[in-house]
Symmetry: C2
């Protein structure tokens, strides 16, 4: 892995995926936008400019050091199965949130506990699954700045968590070590709560911050 | 219900319960400390001073307008069964968090979804269960001030949620409407994450704040 890893973003043409792509491109990372259609991904990468390339999901996963999953929960398992071979030995950053339409503002966690645990089971122990970016409002990322919220980062491998905390520090106020992968349930559930808060308080992108930490947060 | 309701705090001699008692007493509420032992509760209430009384859990629940459950998860179901008759028609504020020792920093939600949903099922539809105060560090409350964190408030009855948001505003930065009771899973899971953050970042009481809301937060 070179000093700045190449990041594939599966679902990279979506709202969150493209927001993350913009921030990481601005921070000097090479980004491969993944999509079901290579043509769509390539056209989108051209719009993004900079060190952005486009490919289908498998091609994007193959060519990157770190693979970020920013697909809707409905495509989560299918995408995982599709890229399983291509991501062995890599870090997979799962941003999927188990929203169940139409009641997306009601917490409905899967029986497995969390989307992240589903990913780890499907990909196997040869993949370091880290989950993060569940509570980042994409609006802020598209506006060109870092989101004023913290990003809770979960995973069973401490070194992989630290790498993703570094990536989170580029897109939001602060990446925070949230512990093991099972803890992802907290951030995944919180997404439904934040969607409800957006509606009730008529705001575009509520997020969370962790209080009581030293400033700056130790890395 | 008079202008300021009488609040019973079951588990009121514990760390969180006594912290809440202090804040509400300071804000002019009548507080009844509930404990398994009436004597212990009465002695503790004497120490608290002000408009504090002590009683056993059932007596405390009977004599209050709002009943707060601040007992450890291990005593949660037993306490609910004990006070079921005494709380019919009232608001029960459940602060229980499903921590499973020894791994209290790992999210382990119950099959029912959350402690709050267990409470609602056990108490029946005649009780308005609201869940809150999962993520408040008791240390700050005992130090005499409001905790610098937000309190997510969940419940299926909007009017009861609003009453508890008012109580939350007395103990922390802000009470926030988190939606239906099922959403309590988010705050309950987050408690394990915050316990882990306290350990990893060596801080006494990490909490959360919701970002992206107008200031002051509309009530």
């Amino acid at each position: 892995m070179s000093e700045k890893p190449t990041i594939a973003i599966l679902g990279g043409t979506g709202d969150l995926g493209s927001g993350l792509a913009k921030r990481w491109l601005a921070a000097g990372y090479s980004v491969v936008v993944g999509s079901r259609s290579a043509e769509k991904a390539q056209a989108f990468a051209k719009e993004l400019g900079g060190a952005a390339r486009g490919d289908d999901n498998v091609g994007a996963a193959k060519s990157a050091d770190i693979v970020v999953l920013a697909v809707p929960f409905g495509s989560h398992e299918a995408t995982l199965c599709e890229v399983k071979d291509a991501v062995q030995g890599k870090i997979v950053v799962d941003a999927a949130v188990p929203l169940v339409p139409p009641k997306v503002s009601v917490v409905q966690l899967p029986p497995e506990g969390s989307a992240a645990q589903i990913a780890q089971t499907l990909l196997g122990e040869g993949v370091k699954v880290v989950s993060a970016f569940h509570n980042v409002g994409a609006t802020k990322l598209h506006a060109g700045g870092r989101a004023d919220c913290d990003v809770l980062v979960f995973g069973n491998d401490k070194e992989s968590r630290d790498i993703v905390i570094g990536l989170a520090n580029e897109v939001a106020t602060c990446g925070i070590d949230g512990g093991v992968l099972a803890n992802s349930a907290a951030a995944e559930a919180l997404t439904s709560v934040l969607i409800g808060i957006n509606r009730r308080y008529k705001v575009p992108g509520a997020g969370i911050r962790i209080t009581g930490l030293p400033t700056p947060v130790p890395q």
